[in-house]
Symmetry: C2
Subunit: 307 residues, 2 copies
């Protein structure tokens, strides 16, 4: 059987990495020995902490794929967030928890999406309904992904299914998820040795909004002001991205995971979208957004409407 | 709770009708009392035979929907095949077995697609995994849909899951599916009192092929020549459709369900797509396609490639 590449989105977060690993393992258990977990970018510190904790190797890095390659997408479906060459791949499965946009195939496929907090929650369900045994290691990877995407079940994206999955998975992995989860999230907030450009790449997504090319990057922190110390460097790096990638708008969301707020740093010719969406006036290119922590649930839909 | 409309594609076939009824029932069993089965067109004779057999009312006819209406799509996802106003609906679920194309939402949703022969096969699976009891009537509706879409498990779209579903469902419905299925399919081939225009609407889909607007209608028969007796009338009706709907290509597939072949009647400015796809020369606007019975599996993908 020809190889099947399994991967999440570019600028991978913990869910994209863990879901690739778990899905490739699941495919093997379902008889597809040729499934290979891959990644489309660097491992961030939070993910590195989790992989190290469970002693699992990072997926293989790929930059582009050949025409006709069989692929399984996890944690994304928009081609703009996927691997170079995705237009000519043979997409056989998608497991995702995002809106569907700009996705198309010429043939029927397996597509499983649910409006839950994390792709790994859906993978957990698939294991349960298919009676597939979950090892402690796989449980730990899924647990890490859900904690990451839901900010320890505090994000408004969190559903009852995510909570149940975390409870079950922490039993299987034999872990106190509150203790482990906070350690993992904090590991991700150590931004000290990132350059401004690297910081923008930690978790960034390009989204089409009514014809506007918008990039929204997000970093988690326990101290927003600490991140903004290097505002000038960040702005220079953002302006470079805008020029290189021909963006209409760049939003960097700096999210305080302890107090559940965000400060946004916004540049580009369509900054009005942010001002209109959140009813704020940007000052010094910034605005404070109380209670906003979820890009998917609290930022993207309202920005789509105002684009 | 606000009402949720559940419907299949325009020019509904048996799967679109039955899957709407079953999905609306399923939603009610899952707690959504406000789910209403709907249809976007006339009930064809095959479907009428099955509804009459199981003593079930046809779903409610709707022509368009208001902005913000909550909807569940079954048996389709392409907006061009859906209800008028779909662009501004709130799509909360999709259950389908087709390729994904031209579909998009602004928010995450439940999307379940599998490359199986029939939407009802997926609904059957959902019932099983959620421990939802299937009544003999609901089993009969799902059984009818699968028999219709797979031409009694003979179409190349048939998968092992469809076969298993038919076996299980015929036990629950207490029906010999071979006897019932052939009677149902034959009821659908009685085209005697259809006008040429009505015949083109029995099961028609509009598909975008590389920027070309292509309509492919299909009718089942036990005698291809009988249908072609009125070729001139059919051609007039087709040319009228082409003009009215601004089509680049119209294909009428007349499928012999006993011998598993099709004759196509082809008009429009891109008839070359059919000639190239099936390596045939149209004579008198027609070509015989041996072994071709499935629009989805044997016609659409190859035509997409050659468009």
């Amino acid at each position: 059987m020809s190889e099947i590449l399994v991967f999440g989105h570019k600028s991978p977060d913990t869910d994209s990495i863990m879901s690739s690993l778990v899905m490739a393992d699941l495919e093997k258990k379902l008889g597809n020995d040729s499934a290979i977990a891959c990644r489309l970018g660097e491992i961030n510190k939070e993910t590195a902490y989790a992989l190290n904790y469970f002693k699992v190797e990072a997926p293989k890095y790929i930059e582009k794929i050949d025409e006709g390659t069989k692929v399984i997408l996890v944690d994304h479906n928009e081609f703009s967030q996927s691997v170079n060459g995705i237009e000519n791949a043979k997409i056989i499965k998608v497991i995702d928890h995002h809106r569907i946009c700009g996705f198309q195939t010429s043939e029927p496929l397996f597509y499983m999406a649910e409006p839950v907090g994390c792709t790994s929650t859906i993978l957990f369900e698939i294991c349960i309904t298919n009676n597939i045994e979950i090892t402690p290691t796989m449980a730990g990877l899924m647990l890490s992904a859900i904690i990451s995407d839901t900010l320890l079940l505090k994000s408004p994206t969190t559903t009852i299914k995510d909570i149940k999955a975390v409870e079950e998975l922490s039993k299987i992995a034999n872990i106190n998820y509150n203790v482990y989860g906070l350690d993992m999230l904090k590991a991700g907030t150590d931004l000290s040795d990132y350059s401004a450009e690297e910081l923008l790449n930690i978790d960034a997504k390009i989204v089409d909004m009514n014809g506007n090319k918008v990039k929204i990057a997000q970093v988690n922190t326990v101290d927003i002001q600490e991140v903004l110390k290097s505002q000038t460097n960040l702005e220079n790096a953002i302006n470079q991205k805008i020029a290189e990638e021909n963006l209409d708008l760049f939003v960097l969301a700096i999210t305080d995971i302890v107090n559940s707020n965000s400060e946004v740093l916004v540049l580009g010719k369509r900054t009005d979208i942010v001002e209109k969406s959140f009813n704020v006036n940007l000052e010094n290119n910034r605005a404070f957004l109380p209670g906003i922590v979820s890009r998917k649930k609290q930022m993207l839909p309202i920005m789509q409407e105002n684009a």
